[in-house]
Symmetry: C2
Subunit: 180 residues, 2 copies
């Protein structure tokens, strides 16, 4: 297949807490060599929690790369070897205090295909019961409820920027409301 | 505002062709220090090209982090200081040979909010005329046309994985078909 690239070398640049960075040497289809800068990430999950009054439960969180507080659905990193659904239920519980009796897979997304191995698995959580939040000690998160129809409008009108939040909301909306 | 983090130091880890990596030291709301691993990226654009027969023009491209060929809408990196719309028109022309008389902004996405500064701007391109492809010499791309309704179904049924492609298609579909 003429689109393939073959790795012939890999240099470890950085082995951090969240990411690992390598600079790989590949052979292209035309026989030339090229470098590929790659972020290695363990992957994550996000969850659209919809309560019995059809409110979506969002988290507001400071996101350092943007130096601003972003509106997102609950989400988190996969532990090594962790099942994505188990991770989604864990993060939902930790960040919002909610446990769900109806947890449904919405698909996956590759956020940054050119240079990052991260995959995010999306879920819809309904039939929620609320216990207490159980944040990590260095985690600072505010909870906000927004009606599902209003949240959908905010995505369409470009008022929400986080990719996983936009996509998971549109998919959840499609599932719950049907139509387009 | 209790969610903020303040940078007190930044260590340059890697200054590559596509990404720059830093490890920053921040002060949290509770007075403790923490590290933030940050990928710095210049941002990009993606374009949903829809021809007069309502086919979406996709590109198939080997994506090294996934060791597989992915289905995506045309896209590319912003040059330093480049206007996103100009970049979108340039990438559309280079990758598919198309020029558009009706180029419309669909919003932006932050692919990886936890550790990457990248922003992708999304566009819908219609009223297309086709010239010749003008790929970079190390770029290998196949073109595929898929009817708009079928492309939408593929997103809903989790057959397309790239985040920008999924989101831009859902937004384009909403604009062109209305409804949900």
């Amino acid at each position: 297949m003429h689109l393939n690239e073959k790795k012939i070398d890999s240099e470890l640049i950085f082995d951090g807490k969240v990411i690992r960075v390598t600079r790989d040497t590949v052979i292209l289809e035309n026989g030339q060599t090229a470098f590929r800068e790659v972020i290695h990430h363990n992957g994550g999950v996000c969850v659209v929690p919809v309560d019995d009054n059809e409110n979506v439960i969002f988290v507001r969180q400071f996101r350092y790369p943007f130096h601003s507080i972003l509106l997102e659905v609950p989400a988190g990193k996969l532990e090594c070897g962790e099942d994505p659904e188990a991770c989604g239920r864990r993060e939902l519980r930790e960040e919002t205090g909610a446990v769900s009796q109806d947890f449904c897979y919405l698909g996956k997304l590759y956020p940054t295909v050119a240079y990052d191995t991260e995959i995010i698995y999306m879920y819809l959580a309904r039939e929620l019961d609320f216990l207490t939040q159980a944040l990590d000690e260095d985690e600072f998160i505010d909870i906000t409820r927004i009606p599902l129809d209003e949240a959908y409008r905010m995505v369409i009108d470009n008022e929400i920027f986080d990719a996983k939040t936009q996509l998971a909301l549109l998919k959840a909306y499609h599932l719950l409301r049907g139509g387009n």
